[in-house]
């Protein structure tokens, strides 16, 4: 079920009403049971067979969590059980997501040495939606118990609800048990303000998805499909639009997820903090897909030594997390290159000691407009990040490099015309207005409609819905880009 579907429009209020009716009678178990059933139903509409994978991941980590804790009580670390969780979840990912990639890469590598083997080992495997997200979430539970950050829950219902909580099941935010599980095990009460905030986030998320991402999707698709014949000006347009598309798509999803969770009295972590207003690549990674970045920091970068080791080892650690992060996105060399490119962009920032200087503030912190230096920083960071998206969007490495080659060799300016005749000025105005509006609200990613005047607020809601009407495209595939990861 998609957030931007009619089915969800029926599903959400139904679950919401039932949930609070049950909540009225203080039946927490029943409330969690309802969330669990609703989550399995939500997921099962894609493919009910993959529910068994979620169930398996749930049971394994539930038992592993208890076993680790028990071992720790006996003075042991419980490393064996941790490895069971890690191997099980990585195997799930490895088989469903990376098996064919490894086989194909092996065949390609062998052919480099002059041998030829027929790739008959590849399988016709369907990638289960959200597998990368929920396996990381369950793994983090076992890791947190291992590192004694949390204690395991003995209530399987609560744990299953934590794993399958439908707002964030298929595309995050990848929650930590320390945040989400605690909320699930405790009684929730209906709060008017929280629900209103949730609805506002859902509306803003829908705008980002349906207007920004879906609105420009046909243009991006056309440019990337025909990049071999287009001039560099059009390629720049295509990759810039893709940058906005992927941001609108994923951050829109996250906003809807966070907003939906709020309706159920649950606070999820922020996943996007206006990454387009980052002053360097390090700040970008503190603002883009925060739940994944922090996951890698907590469970990979810090255990490897983080930055508290020699410079050389720190660079190695940075390279590892970016390459793994790239690989997490998809079983394709393009994603590994994408990760590698970001590592190369991040390392100089790290060496200059500027990787944490923007951690606790935003651009133009105390002023209305950014300074010229800040504008330069924003533009440069945006260019670097957008350039990296060529790898992210291309079907293969060859496509990426041909795209880049054309970008620098076919340098000419030509106005772009979409075959369907879309009026391009509409999109330029839309994106300019979007950037300016996001700049206005850059201090708080959870309050997209922060206006004191109710009239202005009402006008903003109306305008956002009007934009959805103006840019709705019946022919666009409405699924979310990050579902494929």
């Amino acid at each position: 079920m998609l957030f931007n579907s009619v089915e969800y429009l029926i599903f959400l209020p139904t679950v919401f009403i039932l949930y609070w009716i049950i909540g009225k009678f203080n039946l927490l178990k029943l409330q969690n049971g309802l969330i669990l059933v609703a989550s399995y139903f939500f997921y099962g509409l894609w493919d009910w067979r993959f529910l068994f994978l979620i169930l398996a991941s749930t049971i394994v980590d539930y038992l592993v969590g208890i076993a680790i804790h028990k071992k720790q009580g006996q003075g042991e670390k419980g490393k064996l059980f941790l490895w069971i969780s890690v191997i099980f979840n990585i195997s799930l990912l490895g088989f469903f997501k990376y098996y064919n990639f490894f086989v194909d890469s092996f065949v390609d590598m062998v052919s480099l040495f002059g041998y030829s083997i027929k790739s008959t080992w590849t399988l016709n495997i369907i990638l289960p939606v959200g597998i990368s997200f929920y396996t990381f979430q369950t793994m983090s539970y076992s890791l947190d118990i291992y590192y004694k950050r949390i204690k395991p829950t003995h209530k399987i219902l609560d744990f299953a609800t934590f794993v399958a909580f439908f707002p964030q099941l298929v595309a995050g935010p990848i929650e930590r048990a320390s945040n989400l599980l605690g909320q699930i095990t405790n009684k929730r009460s209906f709060k008017y303000e929280q629900s209103v905030e949730g609805l506002k986030l859902i509306l803003w998320g829908l705008f980002k998805k349906m207007v920004i991402a879906d609105g420009i999707a046909p243009i991006v698709d056309d440019i990337f499909a025909n990049y071999g014949t287009l001039p560099s000006s059009t390629l720049i347009l295509g990759v810039t639009f893709f940058s906005f598309q992927v941001y609108g798509d994923f951050s829109g999803y996250s906003d809807i997820a966070i907003g939906t969770a709020k309706l159920f009295g649950i606070e999820l972590m922020s996943n996007f903090k206006f990454p387009n207003f980052s002053r360097n690549v390090a700040e970008y990674w503190q603002r883009w897909h925060v739940s994944l970045s922090t996951w890698f920091r907590h469970y990979l970068y810090i255990p490897l030594g983080g930055s508290r080791v020699s410079k050389l080892k720190s660079i190695r650690n940075i390279s590892i997390i970016f390459l793994v992060s790239g690989f997490w996105h998809g079983a394709n060399w393009t994603f590994i290159f994408w990760g590698g490119f970001h590592a190369l962009a991040y390392i100089p920032v790290f060496l200059m000691g500027r990787n944490t200087i923007y951690k606790d503030n935003v651009v133009a912190e105390n002023s209305v407009f950014p300074s010229f230096i800040e504008i330069g920083q924003l533009v440069l960071t945006f260019i670097i990040v957008t350039f990296s998206r060529i790898f992210f969007r291309s079907e293969s490495l060859t496509d990426s490099f041909v795209f880049i080659k054309r970008l620098f060799t076919e340098f000419q300016w030509e106005p772009y015309h979409h075959p369907m005749g879309y009026r391009m000025i509409d999109y330029y105005i839309l994106l300019a207005a979007f950037v300016l509006y996001e700049f206005r609200i850059r201090r708080d990613e959870r309050s997209p409609f922060k206006f004191k005047s109710p009239i202005v607020r009402f006008c903003a809601y109306t305008l956002v819905i009007f934009c959805i009407l103006l840019f709705f495209d019946d022919g666009v595939d409405r699924s979310f880009i990050y579902f494929q990861f």
Partner: protein
């Protein structure tokens, strides 16, 4: 269940507040959107239709409006329904003294996607001397409708010098007899359509496909591919040719002044041969479409744009000039 819901609301003032506010906001936002859709004229205006005493389905005469296609009114054009019930810049007054051409067809000829004063007929008139073009276009017409029209207005058509019938093969030959489509008129006059016509926001939303998912959810989906497959299996050329022959038997054509306007590229050679054998003139605009480098269709739909209409007009003119040669 209802009692529980009521109990939930009564016992929780915050919940009442939330639902009350959602309802008020929903109503006010819909109202504001209705105003915006009207202010920017995003909605199309459908002129009313009826079946006249001759059994011809057409538009209610003397009606002006704007046709809007796509979201953000990417195609916006004015139409004018004349006294005879067709979208045209002129009234149809056939007489033996004048040189007239009747252009008959479906939505392509009806031309709601263009300004009525820039139609194919107008383009033909601008490029020829002393010729009046009467555009008998009506969306959804097939050959049965078109031949019925000629037969119903026999007297008028007897005075007209040239008749050009636009047809798409094989879509226009799916039936061999004419029947009035009273169901469609009834449907268009039904309350649900009247509501849609009056609430412009609803009309716009339905026009851009926003309501399609809701419709799909309510109405059981038919396997259109299967239907299509059946159709192609059971309707080969012979069936269309038989329909064509049967229609001509019912409504004989005056071959001396009637031509079929079509795109040969999309027409079966069997049908073209058949017309040749029957001595029916063909005007092929496909050749001109093939040569041009500019697009010939509009955005969002396949109707002809200004370039396409100019080329069709040129094809007709060229044919008429050819016809004058000894």
């Amino acid at each position: 269940m209802m009692a529980w819901i009521v109990r939930l609301f009564i016992s929780n003032s915050d919940m009442i507040k939330l639902f009350l506010k959602i309802s008020i906001y929903f109503f006010l936002i819909c109202l504001a959107l209705e105003l915006l859709v009207r202010a920017f004229h995003l909605y199309p205006e459908d002129s009313p239709r009826f079946i006249d005493e001759m059994g011809v389905e057409k538009r209610v005469p003397n009606y002006n409006g704007f046709s809007v296609t796509g979201n953000r009114r990417q195609n916006f054009s004015e139409y004018h329904i004349n006294n005879q019930g067709f979208n045209s810049y002129r009234e149809f007054e056939p007489s033996y003294d004048k040189n007239e051409l009747a252009l008959i067809g479906d939505s392509y000829i009806q031309g709601f996607h263009q300004n009525y004063y820039n139609s194919i007929g107008k383009k033909i008139e601008d490029r020829t001397k002393d010729l009046e073009v009467y555009e008998y276009g009506y969306a959804g017409w097939d050959l049965a409708d078109q031949l019925h029209l000629i037969n119903a207005y026999k007297e008028d058509f007897s005075k007209i010098d040239h008749i050009v019938i636009y047809m798409k093969y094989p879509m226009d030959l799916e039936r061999s007899t004419y029947e009035e489509n009273k169901g469609r008129i009834k449907l268009l006059n039904s309350t649900s359509f009247k509501i849609r016509d009056n609430i412009k926001l609803l009309y716009y939303a339905s026009q851009i496909g926003l309501l399609e998912p809701i419709k799909n959810l309510l109405v059981e989906k038919k396997d259109t591919e299967d239907i299509q497959e059946n159709k192609t299996n059971t309707n080969p050329d012979s069936l269309y040719l038989a329909n064509f022959d049967k229609l001509l038997a019912t409504y004989p054509l005056n071959k001396s002044k009637t031509s079929l306007l079509l795109d040969k590229r999309n027409t079966s050679p069997l049908f073209l041969d058949h017309c040749n054998k029957l001595g029916i003139d063909i005007i092929d605009f496909g050749e001109n479409f093939e040569i041009t480098k500019k697009p010939v269709t509009l955005i969002y739909d396949k109707h002809w744009n200004n370039n396409g209409r100019t080329l069709v007009a040129k094809s007709i003119i060229a044919h008429l000039k050819l016809a004058k040669q000894p």
